[in-house]
Symmetry: C2
Subunit: 258 residues, 2 copies
Amino acid sequence: MSTLTTPTTWEAEKVRMVNKASGAGRIAEQIGSAIVSGVYRPDQLVPGEIELSRRFQASRPVVREALKLLSAKGLIDSRKRAGTRARSREAWHMLDADVLAWRLKTGKAEPKFVFDLLQARTVIEPAAAAMAALNHTARTLKLIEAAFADMEVSVHDRALFVEPDIRFHRAILIATGNDFIAAFGALIETALGAFVRIASRHEGAPAPSVPLHRDILAAICRRDAEGARAAMLVLLNRTSRNAERNVVRQGSRKPKRH
Amino acid sequence: MSTLTTPTTWEAEKVRMVNKASGAGRIAEQIGSAIVSGVYRPDQLVPGEIELSRRFQASRPVVREALKLLSAKGLIDSRKRAGTRARSREAWHMLDADVLAWRLKTGKAEPKFVFDLLQARTVIEPAAAAMAALNHTARTLKLIEAAFADMEVSVHDRALFVEPDIRFHRAILIATGNDFIAAFGALIETALGAFVRIASRHEGAPAPSVPLHRDILAAICRRDAEGARAAMLVLLNRTSRNAERNVVRQGSRKPKRH
DNA sequence: CGCTTAGTTATGTCTGACATATGGTTGAGG
DNA sequence: CCTCAACCATATGTCAGACATAACTAAGCG
């Protein structure tokens, strides 16, 4: 049953984040969530390793592995004598799938989170669609087409629809041929996952968005960069309107930072 | 700057990557560089932990911490029985400062790397400048202005010029008020660091770019979004022309992925 | 009063062992 | 001879206890 030489790369395997079940991943998630939710203030503290090992009922090496995970994501910084400190949010790796998930889960200030997510998508994805139109190959185009076909099949159920939807947008990012643009995949995934969570109780089937996706695919197919850009922009504008309608009203306020 | 013998040119508190000196960081850098340079093929192998601990003259816990660092950056994936495998490049966190540095250091296919870097900047930074013009605060504007002032001071020396230059572009990203846009800071830093490395032996002082930066700052100051976007685009086009002139000619070839 | 020095403390590192799951191998059964 | 189940080897996962090292604190000395 296994396809012999063809790698068929991901498919079964989801985007693998930290293994939540096992020790280090579980602890990293707990501490990471605490940091992004503001339990541990910017430039200070975090309990010591022995204290953490006691608190999480795990040995110190496991705690240290968890801390290394968080360190690699820019959340903490350990120095020899005085403990490990939570780093300020400018240092966080905001496009890391785990950091995004933790921020979303402990949804503090969710309106601004959703707004920024959409704003970033509006910057990246139209340009990505244009680049994909110019640079796509037979292989990458096939990925986009396959994702769109699966969207059409599951158009009746929002829960089923979201997976191929995410795959569609990711495939476009990959089709750009630019690794740095493709790095936004995690962001798209989180954004769409969040939207479906928010919007699922307000609306029915996602049928109206299918023709918009079809326009994007068609433009990419005929290597029409500006058409693809415009079509993607139309889709994102629709998504923005939906988000505005669904998010609590304060979402329309201009974000006001100190 | 990196692996040198700890001159600590600019003082302690900087963007802290992995602590290269100490065990886990040093090992992570070695293995990570090997992965991004293609020594360990996509979906396969990587020596076992005991073998690694022997090879790097370190204990197994330290090796495991290094592996956790790499795991958090999307480079590897460990499963219980059959070892830890190098993940395919789609999984790599391309905007991670360490991954960027490792890819740049073991510069394989550097022309495409530089080209993609510039292309990504052309997508992000004009939009970021426009957003900064609309959203900047007194605090964030001051950061941009301070960086520009330092650029003017050190205009005579390219080596000194690069630091405030990086700071200028980072400050604009921060001034957007959007965390996800700001996440590109590491990319900008790597890009400018790479360009100065490439261009330093071809050209003299970076004086011509100063008025272009001044135009960006002025547009942001007067909250002129489209002006800021256009000014940034002008700067990036100049940078692109310089890069084209400096990089070997094959950089103009269409990147051809299988 | 400032500088040096000693002590405290948390991270960093090491050793050695056991637990666990999984891939491969082997043997039983069809 | 082939199929499938049980077994075993192996690499990661986890644990415990110990020592090394550096940095912050404070006492001691000039």
